[in-house]
Subunit: 517 residues, 2 copies
């Protein structure tokens, strides 16, 4: 049995140990001798005053204060430090836990006719304010889909499975395993996020190339909207008009509630080949990754760590490329050999891949442990075309470094590629800086603005796989074509006439009406 | 110099020769001894009475009757036999040939404020009535994008090119070649269709797996709509809300006019490996293709011909699988070897692939030549999951055979797979039957209804890569989730308030308003 942390990442039982914490503190102190690393314990949730619910409890609605508190926000650094400071902000008035699709329909009907906002909630690991009832007038119900957690049907011939949206990653894989299949979608949040959350946010998985997003594994969707249930036809491919699924993928609960999906599954890999390559020169490392991304070899993993990232998380002081190929059907050694041929200027090294994997899974726990010592640990992710990467990288690094200097007096900026495409990489930036206890949220906000301006200004997308939520809205609205915003706003108005679905996400009044010519 | 046929496929100079025609007639007579194969010549277009234009000629609008006639419909069998019969139906009132994007804006403005329908027109090879002014009240302008035919920019680092929508396939490849790149999107219509047409109809290319549709090569789109110009950001991947491009891909001119796109290009293949495999047993052939589709080997070609298709077009009397791998980076012989291992029950044969390619490109010319002898030659394409294929195949074959029997007294039904996916194939059916001169269109309509009912009734999509147009609307409206129809109709109303863009395609009044629960 495990207990979810009310204020931070994951399970209480898996939080950092005192020894692990001490190691982290020592490492930070080595780099930032003047940082105030006093430990701050989270408040006792019982002592927090949670506003009275404006909704009557019912078999469908739980108004238990702690239940509402643990559904009040996601898992961004911004969320964690507000929890640590006892700043609980707005909390949903009730939590609904549908056991059937009809329950979802009933909640939407009740909320629609009573002007109650509905925030669909999967695992609650949003890092962009996607599940937070921020700036919403009137009562709010959080729709926790956790009870819709079953694999309903497996089609072994077509290698597809009909799966309920509320299932968590490990439970999903456990239910597919007896059938000899796996979805193999492993975001960093895998253990605590759900299929529905992945679909609604276009989550990125562990595949570094080709099938990078959950979109690529989606065969059909079933979505409950206020005006009816939408179910797309199960077909492997279609040219019949714009794709219905592509409208709901990434809709972040603003157009409907995804209740089920037919997902493409596969056999677990039988053949594997991997290596890590060290580069003294970052530029040559980037060129090698571009060559591999454009080779058509499709590595399952192709993660480039810059020297700072490699130093912090893979025990190397040079750039490291972690390469891996996998197949359920055929040997992939030749693929790896060819990929290594493309790594001009690199040197194969041992062990870094394993060390990287280890820290990858601990990162969110470590982030929260260090937040208790007023350390600011945040990530920014984007994607851009290869021709713009050098410029974007310089702009983001410069913007991050100077805002950290300005806001925190010092800081470290790291970069890695999480996914790569023939036409460009998806760079992922980490910032580590000493914050001021009591001002962490404000400091985060300043840093977020500066870096987001830099990466969107340099041609990147505001998000490659963390979604828009509320934190990314200002930049999303600038990046999105106004005309598409007009169409999306009209579609939202048609499907959600009362405007109760996750208000403030994806569409706002400011995007309504005809776009400027 | 070549001349486009006014009534049928392609160039007059490349029409079937008398010898080729005689061979075809003899082959048909061998199978259908009682067929009346009298040759009928097309009418002289000068003798056809073309309704007077309701639009004033202007520098932007040509009202030349022959110009309007050659823009009146696409290249479906239904279109060709109506032309042959001198049944020209409705003809656009004018043809506009924009030379700049501003011209497109001006046409949309003028048509929008004067209630003139606008039908975007690329190469005019629609086989679904997509460019035909059918059942439109009021005047119609056909917007021929043929002058927007340039590759404007090439980004060799990201391997992408900014290309105008009106460029024809060969011209597009010719402009990319000096840069060392190719798009490698080769639909059967390649020579006579345009990039914009491919994008607006989600065209299928020659890649049998993975990157089957033009969608997969699209980095960003520029679209002129009545409320403004939409340009999506050039990024290799994004999770920022529903994809803007995916709304315009497949919009068939009903939401806007695609004027430019950034497309992912590649180096031409240096490594190739291919083979043809003969199967005595169709079921085992299908199983082999499924195994290859699920292997992750990604053949560039994986086309399965049933015995009838193989007999007519590849000189074999058994099912034939045409397999090919290609790469610009690495040898693919191992891929082919593994794919052949998966062909249990098959036998490698020589030459059929070349023969197949040859007839593939002649098919449309031969279809039209035989239409002059009152032969009905039509194709139906779909996609379904593997678990439903046997049932769909039986249903379609049975429906096609009996409707041919009923309508034509006899006929041949063939099947091939044009594309395959891990979760299902895209079967492509051909029907060949002796028609009655003077009733060919009505006979086609009866056959179309019977087969379309069968393939959508058995779970297939009404189209995998021929789009919806006007001919597929009844089945598209049944296949499309009503709720998505509601959203798409609202989006259309927001982008095209005057409802002038390709009216009758994708949305109709009947799909407006809230969907039934």
């Amino acid at each position: 049995m495990t207990t979810r942390s009310w204020w931070g990442w994951g399970n209480v039982e898996h939080a950092v140990t005192p020894e692990e914490r001490q190691k982290l503190v020592d490492r930070v102190r080595a780099v930032l001798p003047n940082a105030d690393l006093t430990l701050h314990d989270p408040p006792d949730p019982e002592t927090l005053t949670i506003p009275k619910s404006r909704i009557q409890p019912s078999p469908l609605y739980s108004t238990d204060p702690l239940d509402r508190l643990t559904h009040a926000r996601g898992q961004a650094y911004r969320d964690v430090v507000r929890n640590l400071a006892g700043d609980i902000g707005t909390v949903p008035d009730a939590v609904a836990r549908p056991r059937t699709e009809q329950d979802v329909v009933d909640v939407l009907d009740h909320c629609g006719s009573n002007g109650i906002a509905v925030i669909p909630f999967g695992g609650g690991t949003s890092v962009v304010g996607g599940v937070e009832p921020r700036d919403i007038d009137g009562p709010v119900v959080t729709l926790d889909l956790g009870h819709l957690d079953r694999v309903l049907e497996v089609d072994p011939t077509s290698r597809a499975a009909r799966i309920q949206a509320g299932v968590l990653g490990p439970d999903l894989e456990a239910q597919l395993k007896p059938h000899g299949f796996t979805l193999r979608h492993f975001p960093q949040s895998f253990e605590f996020s759900t299929l529905g959350g992945w679909l609604a946010t276009r989550a990125g998985g562990h595949y570094a190339t080709a099938t990078t997003h959950i979109d690529d594994f989606t065969e059909s969707l079933r979505v409950v909207t206020p005006v009816g249930v939408s179910e797309s036809r199960r077909v492997p491919g279609s040219g019949a008009g714009p794709s219905p699924d592509r409208m709901f993928l990434g809709s972040e609960g603003a157009l409907g509630v995804i209740t089920e999906a037919w997902m493409r599954v596969q056999e677990p890999p039988r053949h594997r080949a991997g290596a890590s390559v060290r580069f003294a020169d970052w530029g040559r490392a980037v060129e090698a990754v571009r060559a591999i991304a454009q080779s058509g070899l499709h590595p399952a993993n192709c993660r480039l760590l810059d020297p700072a990232e490699a130093f912090l998380n893979a025990g190397s002081s040079q750039s490291v490329l972690v390469l891996a190929f996998e197949s359920a059907d055929h040997p992939v050694d030749a693929h790896l050999r060819r990929a290594l041929e493309l790594c001009a200027g690199g040197e194969v090294v041992e062990g870094t891949a394993a060390r990287w994997r280890g820290s990858f899974l601990r990162m969110p726990y470590q982030r929260d442990a260090m937040a208790q010592h007023a350390m600011i640990t945040e990530t920014f992710e984007t994607a851009c075309t290869w021709d713009r990467f050098a410029e974007l990288h310089a702009a983001v690094t410069e913007a991050a470094t100077s805002v950290l200097e300005e806001v925190c007096g010092a800081g470290i900026v790291t970069c890695r590629f999480t996914h790569v495409y023939p036409d460009g990489p998806a760079p992922y930036y980490g910032v580590y800086a000493p914050g001021r206890w009591g001002s962490l949220r404000q400091q985060w906000d300043e840093i977020k603005v500066a870096v987001s301006e830099a990466l969107t200004g340099a041609g990147g997308t505001i998000t490659h796989h963390h979604a828009v939520g509320r934190d990314h809205m200002p930049w999303y609205l600038r990046q999105r074509p106004d005309v598409f915003g007009t169409a999306l706003t009209a579609a939202k108005a048609a499907l959600d006439p009362a405007g109760v679905l996750n208000p403030g996400v994806l569409t706002t009044r400011s995007t309504a009406g005809p776009a400027p010519r």
